[in-house]
């Protein structure tokens, strides 16, 4: 199994030597026929599931940047998701802006909100930071719940679908290409950022903020940057969620329960592992879907998974795979150098 992963990695590294975008283009091409495979192989519903998985990938990859890489315990991510969704929806409904305008504005506004959610991180750490961000996230939801202009209790209805000219993204398949493209770009950007000095700065802050600051990293700036980047992801996911048919938003979609689900994705996939966020989002979405018929035991199932993961696999599925790959490479290198000596 590990051999398979190292093989895939070696293949993609080889491709990226030719051109750095080549692996991504290949991955994109491989994902293009997926809705048809799902539709005719299993059922149309799985295209919808894939769409939701893509939304969660964006959310958990974004959360992983601030939580997994920068080590800032935030529980306000779901509030940012709500801001992105509601902003884009209201711009589209009240000002008749097309999705292509309303979504970028929503993403920018969510990014600004990210600064506010991130500000406590300059002074607070751990549980205190979690509490502060929890307050900010919940207050967003309550604001939506009590303000009629934001939908309050009836929710926001009839949010128009994105369209290009006459083509409307109103089917599972067409929406798939929208969210899948966004998810791939999101994952690619997260790789680009996290594999640069910015990403290393995030991780250094997670590992030891004092050592990081002495290593020349502007710690408050990079903490805020992590919050803003993750907020941009949440904003994009929110906008995509708002305009996804049937185009309905309700504050119930942004409670602490959803936040815990998001955290579960990150923990399950692997904190501080880019693929971890992706794996976690897919695994949780699929498990959740497959256990629908046993709704009575669902919280129990997820609770057990969470405990088992934290105790036995603190680095998640992604972490386990990564560690095994690193060890294998190290042993191979040692053997090689012994062989040549």
């Amino acid at each position: 199994m590990i051999g398979f992963f190292t093989g895939v990695e070696a293949f993609f590294t080889g491709l990226s030597r030719i051109h750095r975008l080549l692996p991504w283009i290949l991955a994109y091409l491989l994902l293009l026929p997926l809705p048809f495979l799902l539709k005719f192989g299993i059922s149309e519903y799985y295209v919808d599931l894939a769409n939701r998985a893509c939304l969660f990938i964006l959310l958990s990859v974004g959360l992983n940047i601030v939580k997994g890489f920068c080590g800032q315990v935030t529980v306000g991510h779901i509030g940012l998701y709500a801001i992105g969704a509601v902003t884009s929806a209201l711009l589209a409904i009240n000002y008749q802006l097309p999705f292509w305008v309303s979504a970028p504005i929503a993403i920018l506004i969510t990014g600004l909100a990210g600064i506010i959610v991130g500000l406590p991180s300059v002074r607070l750490e751990g549980a205190y930071l979690a509490l502060a961000t929890l307050g900010l996230g919940e207050s967003v939801r309550i604001m939506i719940a009590v303000t009629p202009a934001f939908g309050s209790s009836t929710g926001i209805m009839m949010i128009p679908e994105p369209k290009i000219g006459e083509f409307i993204f109103n089917s599972f398949e067409s929406y798939y290409y929208l969210v899948m493209t966004c998810a791939i770009i999101g994952i690619y950007l997260s790789f680009a950022i996290l594999r640069s000095s910015t990403g290393r700065a995030f991780q250094a802050i997670r590992e030891d903020a004092i050592a990081a600051s002495v290593a020349g990293i502007n710690v408050p700036f990079y903490k805020l940057l992590a919050f803003v980047i993750s907020a941009l992801y949440a904003g994009l996911a929110g906008a995509l969620f708002a305009h996804m048919p049937p185009g309905y938003l309700h504050h119930n979609n942004f409670t602490i329960i959803e936040m815990v689900t998001l955290l579960l994705m990150v923990v399950l996939g692997g904190i501080g592992n880019i693929w971890g966020g992706v794996i976690g989002a897919i695994v949780v979405t699929v498990i959740y879907d497959q256990t629908k018929d046993y709704y009575f035991y669902q919280p129990l199932i997820f609770g057990i998974i969470m405990v088992v993961m934290v105790v036995f696999m603190p680095h998640g599925i992604g972490g386990v795979v990564k560690q095994a790959m690193i060890k294998r490479k190290f042993i191979e290198n040692q053997e090689e150098s012994r062989g040549s000596a």
Binding site: A192, R206, A211, S213, V214
Partner: protein, 266 residues
């Protein structure tokens, strides 16, 4: 010429005066020792110089003609001071290579937005940095562990890595906080040898805080002695060794035979 000069450097925590009016003068290109008993303020001195703590008002720290006493740590590092920690503070879950690359942070030739807009530029720059860092790791004997998490290194290797991370910052002044703590005498000698060769290789000025007096006496050109947050002596190893105040600080007050008898009787 003095590379680092402190004047009236003070730091108090609540009522405790950790540093009091310390004037230190460190020559460019020298290797300077900083000794003193436990709690004498050596680590606080380092923390204040590197910006982890802000000194009390009225203190002045002049580095390379810049007043740095009120600057945040990353600005101080940018100006050319790097340090190690007594407890190492390595980034344990990052690889060895990443650890030293974090050290390189403020010399990164691209901005924080470049990864999004100029992917190929970032990649080329990172590859160049990597080559440079691998070369340095080779010098430290850590190159074959480059892709292992730092947490999997042995104690001695970790000390070397923390040194490597500090060197990667391309400092003019390197502050070493007890580099030999927990090492066997043989290893300490080996480590000091490495430090001296690094100093030559990268044209560094070095300040060493060390408990093992032998190390300091043998390697340092000048030594400053702190006790209870105050400078009690400064000079060449010979001068310091014979200084009355230093002996008192380390061994307690020199007692005449008559005094000892009195103490025993009482």
């Amino acid at each position: 010429m003095a590379l680092l000069e402190t004047k009236g450097l003070s730091k108090s925590f609540g009522g405790v005066q950790a540093l009091q009016d310390v004037d230190v003068h460190i020559e460019e290109g020298s290797i300077h020792g900083l000794i003193g008993p436990n709690g004498s303020g050596k680590s606080t001195f380092f923390n204040v110089i590197s910006g982890v703590y802000r000194p009390d008002s009225g203190s002045s720290v002049l580095f390379d003609n810049h007043e740095i006493s009120q600057l945040p740590p990353h600005k101080i590092t940018e100006l050319g001071i790097s340090r190690t920690f007594q407890l190492l503070r390595l980034f344990l879950e990052m690889t060895v290579l990443e650890n030293v690359m974090v050290g390189y942070h403020c010399h990164t030739p691209y901005g924080f937005l470049s990864p999004i807009l100029q992917g190929s530029k970032v990649r080329e720059a990172d590859e160049k940095i990597q080559d440079e860092m691998i070369e340095m790791l080779q010098f430290l004997g850590l190159a074959s562990y480059a892709n292992l998490p730092a947490g999997e290194l042995s104690g001695g290797q970790r000390r070397l890595l923390s040194l490597g991370r500090a060197i990667a910052m391309k400092p003019k002044l390197l502050l070493l906080d007890e580099p030999g703590a927990g090492l066997s005498p043989v290893n300490v000698d080996h480590l000091m040898h490495t430090i001296l060769s690094l100093k030559e290789k990268y044209k560094l000025t070095v300040v060493v805080v060390e408990h093992i007096l032998k190390v300091v006496m043998n390697t340092c050109e000048r030594i400053t002695v702190l006790d209870h947050g105050q400078k009690i002596a400064e000079g060449s190893p010979e001068e310091v060794k014979n200084d009355h105040a230093v002996i008192e600080a380390y061994l307690g007050r020199e007692m005449a035979d008559e005094d000892i008898r009195q103490v025993i009787r009482a």
